[in-house]
Amino acid sequence: MIDVNALIGPYPFRFIPHPDPELLERVLDREGLSGAWVGHLPSAFYRDPSSGNAQLYTALAPHAATLKPVPTIRPDWPDWERALGVATDAGAPAVRAYPAHWQLGPGDARMSELALACGEARLALILTVRFEDLRQRHALDAAGDLQAAAVRSLARAGPRVRLIVTAAGREFIEEVHWGLTPAEQRRVVWDFSWVWGPPEDHLAKLFRSIGSERFVYGTQWPLRLTQNPRANLDLLPDDLAQAKLGNPEQLFAE
């Protein structure tokens, strides 16, 4: 199983211990995960993420067998298409974008262009609903959560678009899923790093309502405990104990 929602590098608003690829590899091993798709956390806050992407490629090169780079591409930045080509050449399985941080609202044509270009290159586009709970954010962290409307808009952009939406809760997931046609729904998968387990059993309800295969494994390491999604799976009701997750490496096989 692959962790699609891992990052390296420091976070600007609080200290996080050892956000390094070496430790990430050890954590994956401890958690029984075979690899991770890894982004560069500071790049979400850079105006130009290019330097962050270069750091990411360099840092992950010694760990290429387990850690795949997921560069950040900002579609309102000149020459972003070149960065997409570099990502493809580097073997990236996906790219990350942070439209809320870049003040690109739902329906922004530049985000649609990026999603379409990623789809043509057979790269998933990873979106992040949040890095931290709204209630603890630094006063300067004013981006706000990603809006569900932004995800719906991108899912509708074209048939080759593939989205991995991370750090969403149940209401967000349901709002997007039931606001899409069945064909559009198949373009979106979710990590469940922020979905509640028992006693409310949001994850179980989502598995039953929209299907476990629409979910992939993501931890949001190093911001959150890697043990959380595993614990959530372990506490599913017995009838869902064997529920099969989606395979992020097969996103373009559908």
Partner: protein
């Protein structure tokens, strides 16, 4: 699992909370608790959970109905469930009477919500009565209060510290370090107030949260708990064992020994102990509404 495990921060629903799935949610807590090895749920009912009066400002009649439901659950479940008596300090006489009533029937602590700021003098008679009965007070906390939030009169660690200093013989449990807000502020605010312990519950699972809690407060001032998200409780339990910060003995303290001490549990139920009337638990019903926290 051979060790007891006490969830120091649990809640149960009841028929008066306006949710048709209340029994299903309660059953899910027991189901997950059994999987995790929870041997004792220290729990409260928060009035009508907003159905008749606001969750954090419950009316006296809702408080009493909720406590009645909690008492009934304790009767059914035996030592597997222990009760915190919920009160609204804006109704002093009712609050004091409710503590007396429920303490006489085995309540092991008092639950204060966010009906009044923690350092308000209205809390003093409640604390005095808690001291008389030897009851700890679990206080709902917003980690670092930077502004007002709707539907709560929130308190933070600094507010609770002022109350705790006025009542040094009472043990205060600062609720859910993972329950929202800046827990780093909390650690600094309560580090030197020895009669405050903290519970680890809440949906937040930030890396560093537990390490810093152990570093600031020490293992003897942390109680393990879940609140509304049991998967985060399990994740923190596993993380404690992986951080290397706490010894095996320290982990026992966090898992159950601190809670047994604070709640004065003479015999925390051993793993595998069965509730006396588990078969009489209400059957799960279909869900219609969902939680809002």
């Amino acid at each position: 699992m051979t060790e007891p495990l006490i969830d120091a921060h649990a809640h149960f629903l009841h028929a008066g909370c306006g949710r048709s799935d209340w029994a299903e949610v309660n059953a899910a807590r027991f189901r997950a608790g059994d999987k995790m090895g929870i041997t004792c749920h220290v729990a409260s009912v928060l009035g009508s959970y907003g159905f008749n009066s606001p969750t954090y400002f419950p009316s006296p009649s809702d408080v009493m109905a909720g406590n009645d439901a909690m008492l009934a659950l304790c009767d059914t479940e035996g030592e597997r469930v222990r009760m915190l008596v919920t009160v609204n300090p804006n109704y002093t006489e009712r609050a004091l009477a409710e503590i007396q009533r429920c303490a006489a029937r085995g309540a092991v602590g008092v639950k204060l919500l966010a009906s009044r700021r923690a350092d308000d003098p209205l809390l003093d008679p409640i604390c005095a009565l808690a001291a008389k009965h030897g009851l700890p007070i679990l206080h709902h906390i917003w980690q670092h209060r930077r502004r007002e939030w709707p539907n709560q009169e929130i308190s933070d660690g600094a507010d609770l510290a002022r109350l705790a200093r006025r009542h040094p013989t009472v043990t205060f449990i600062l609720a859910h370090i993972g329950g929202g807000g800046d827990y780093q502020h909390t650690y600094a605010a309560i580090r030197d107030v020895e009669n405050i312990v903290a519970d680890t519950s809440g949906s937040g699972v930030d890396r560093g949260m537990l390490d810093e809690a152990v570093g600031a407060l020490g293992s003897q001032r942390l109680l393990w708990g879940c609140d509304l998200t049991m998967e985060t409780g399990l994740a923190k339990l596993r993380a404690l064992e992986n951080t290397g910060l706490s010894s095996a003995d320290d982990i026992k303290d966090i898992r159950w020994r601190n809670a047994a001490r604070v709640f004065r549990l003479k015999s925390p139920p051993a793993p595998g102990a069965s509730p006396p009337q588990a078969a009489s638990r209400p059957a799960p019903k279909a869900r219609k509404k969902r939680a809002r926290k």
